[in-house]
């Protein structure tokens, strides 16, 4: 290309002998530079067009809630909405806690001890994101063979610690970040 371009339209600024074939001259350089600049510009513009679909500032801002645990009765579960998803707050009975601990070393798909899924000394309160780890349905309280939850969509069964025991879900019900503000009050997120 260098030859034909130079021959067809001689470059008066060229010095020395005519360029070797394949040797880039100034015209090749400007072609490549223009191409790179255009690609860079297109790439730079593509990102805002993609990123606009990610969570907006106000969506990110409404991140945390407080919850009064005294509203939950032993053996029951309260569901609150957090970041658009259901949050399970379960007050477990001693029997349910016992069953969960008993299965700590059972054949679990996503091995976790019951102790690692609640705050120290608060074994009765299980705080979980109520979203099935399979495809995001909301599991039903008390369903399934393990007394935990049963997902109505594809039959995933969770135990009283929210661990996956049977069905297609790959992971245990997620534990959100939360802290105890007082004995009976938590802040989630």
């Amino acid at each position: 290309m260098a030859d034909t371009v130079a021959g067809a339209n001689p470059d008066p600024h060229l010095t020395g002998p005519s360029p070797v074939e394949g040797d880039p001259n100034r015209r090749d350089f400007i072609h490549i530079a223009a191409g790179v600049a255009a690609a860079g510009l297109a790439g730079g513009l593509a990102w805002p067009f993609i990123d606009q679909m990610n969570p907006a500032g106000d969506t990110l801002a409404m991140a945390s809630i407080e919850f009064d645990l005294s509203k939950v009765v032993e053996g029951q579960q309260v569901v609150v909405k957090w970041r658009g998803k259901p949050l399970f707050v379960r007050y477990r009975t001693p029997k349910e806690i016992e069953e969960a601990i008993k299965d700590d070393h059972a054949d679990l798909r996503d091995p976790q001890t019951d102790e690692s899924r609640h705050k120290p000394g608060k074994a009765q309160y299980l705080i979980l994101i109520g979203v099935c780890t399979h495809l995001g349905c909301v599991p039903t309280f008390g369903g399934g063979d393990y007394g935990g939850w049963l997902c109505p969509c594809h039959g995933s069964v969770y135990d009283t610690s929210g661990r996956i025991r049977r069905g297609p879900a790959p992971l245990n019900l997620a534990v959100p970040d939360y802290t105890f503000l007082s004995d009976s009050k938590i802040k989630v997120g």
Partner: protein, 439 residues
């Protein structure tokens, strides 16, 4: 589009226009004089039906968008307002919602016609690929549209489908958040789905134009599957096929109207008349009927990622079909062995649909249970969908390539006209007997 044009401008204006924008010539060559095989049967009329349905969906959709509000607080009520208060809103929405089902009914007939007569084979591979793209776009459009009424099934359907992407390792969760525009399916999700639902039909229309272009280069396949050899094999598209398509469309519209006026909710789910509630999933969550077979394949596998891969694989398989089929004979009219497997395949797709509609643990034959095998009862829909999914893939990846190599096809006629014009005694036996039976 193909061959030489027979159009002759008659008026001065037509001559003037023809040298500037030959649009009348284009229309004439495409839908008036286009040489079409003279033996096309009624299975070939669904292209016309589909064009009509696309137009119907676009027109009714644009009208609905004038009254619909894409906001989580108003969407459900705005749809109810369309049904109750907007003048003829009930009619337009019923046409649109049932139109989607009729569109899919027609496209499935169109696809199965194609499989039977081998229309995807050379030289029509690109035509087939464009059709597969249209089918994918239709599924996307239908999914986005189903979310818009913001009922329980809309919401949780959107949750399940967007979570499918989350099955991808590493990037899955970020992509899901990106699709949602938040931490869950919410207002941003509804808005973008509305935007895309409005956009995609026009993309479909564009691909349909390419599809018709790709059709008009090699011309139509036909029930014998043999190439057009002479002018005596064809008739002009108008009036022969405009009338035939017109009659088929009329019959199709009667069925469509029966749904719209007498059973507008027969194909929908009652759960979608309950406003979306993110805190409670309906007891039994199912997609619309036309996606049930793929849903069954998804649920057949106890592993999330593998299920998702297999479901998308079921669709991706269609794209490589022209290169999986090793047979030189197009039409199954002359392929009696694979024809049997083909009819089993149709049955298999219906079985998958039934499986998708049932809960995985439901028993196929009521009252019989206890035959536990691996993780589920052998008499459950899980196992039925596993067997059916296996046949689905086996049909394309094993039976289709093998049959082309091992079967002995019946004698194929020399031309479209040959089996009709020649005396029955002098024609190859199979070539004559078969078309008469199959009409």
């Amino acid at each position: 589009m193909s061959g030489h044009s027979t159009y002759e401008p008659k008026t001065g204006f037509e001559r003037w226009l023809d040298t500037r924008l030959p649009i009348i010539r284009f229309a004439n060559d495409t839908i008036i004089t286009f040489p079409t095989p003279k033996n096309l049967n009624y299975w070939w009329t669904f292209g016309g039906v589909l064009a009509l349905m696309l137009g119907m969906q676009i027109v009714t959709g644009i009208i609905l968008a004038m009254h619909y509000v894409p906001h989580v607080d108003y969407a459900f009520n705005s749809v109810q307002r369309i049904m109750r208060d907007v003048n003829y809103g009930w009619l337009i929405r019923n046409l649109h919602a049932n139109g989607a089902s009729m569109f899919f009914l027609a496209v499935y007939i169109h696809i199965f016609r194609n499989l039977y007569y081998g229309s995807y084979k050379a030289p029509r591979e690109v035509l087939w690929l464009l059709g597969c793209i249209i089918y994918l776009l239709m599924m996307g459009t239908a999914f986005f549209g189903y979310v818009l009424p913001w009922g329980q099934m809309s919401f949780h359907g959107a949750v399940v489908i967007t979570n499918l992407i989350g099955a991808l390792p590493i990037v899955g969760p970020s992509i899901t958040t990106w699709l949602w525009g938040g931490f869950a399916v919410d207002d941003p999700t509804l808005n973008r789905f509305f935007s895309l639902h409005y956009l995609l039909p026009f993309v479909i229309a564009g691909v349909v134009a390419l599809h018709i272009w790709a059709l008009h280069v090699p011309g139509n396949n036909n029930p014998t599957g043999v190439n057009v050899t002479s002018k005596t094999d064809t008739v002009p598209f108008h009036p022969y096929y405009t009338v035939k398509d017109g009659f088929a469309i009329s019959v199709f519209l009667i069925i469509y109207a029966a749904f719209v006026f007498y059973m507008p909710d027969a194909l929908g789910d009652v759960a979608n008349y309950v406003p979306a509630n993110p805190l409670q999933t309906p007891q039994h969550i199912v997609p619309e009927w036309y996606l049930l077979p793929f849903y069954a394949i998804l649920r057949a596998i106890p592993n999330k990622l593998a299920g998702v891969i297999l479901m998308f694989g079921a669709i991706a398989t269609l794209f490589v079909l022209p290169w999986l089929d090793t047979s030189k004979v197009r039409s199954m009219r002359y392929r009696p062995t694979i024809r049997l497997y083909y009819f089993i395949f149709i049955l298999d797709c219906l079985v998958l649909g039934v499986c998708g509609a049932h809960a995985p643990d439901d028993l196929v034959i009521p009252g019989v249970s206890g035959l536990q095998f691996l993780d589920a009862d052998l008499n459950s829909y899980v196992w039925l969908s596993r067997i059916a999914a296996l046949y689905y893939f086996a049909y394309f990846w094993v039976i289709t390539p093998l049959m082309g190599l091992t079967e002995t096809p019946l004698p194929v006629p020399d031309s479209i006209s040959a089996p009709v014009l020649s005396h029955p005694a002098s024609a190859p036996a199979g070539a004559v007997a078969s078309p008469e039976k199959r009409g």
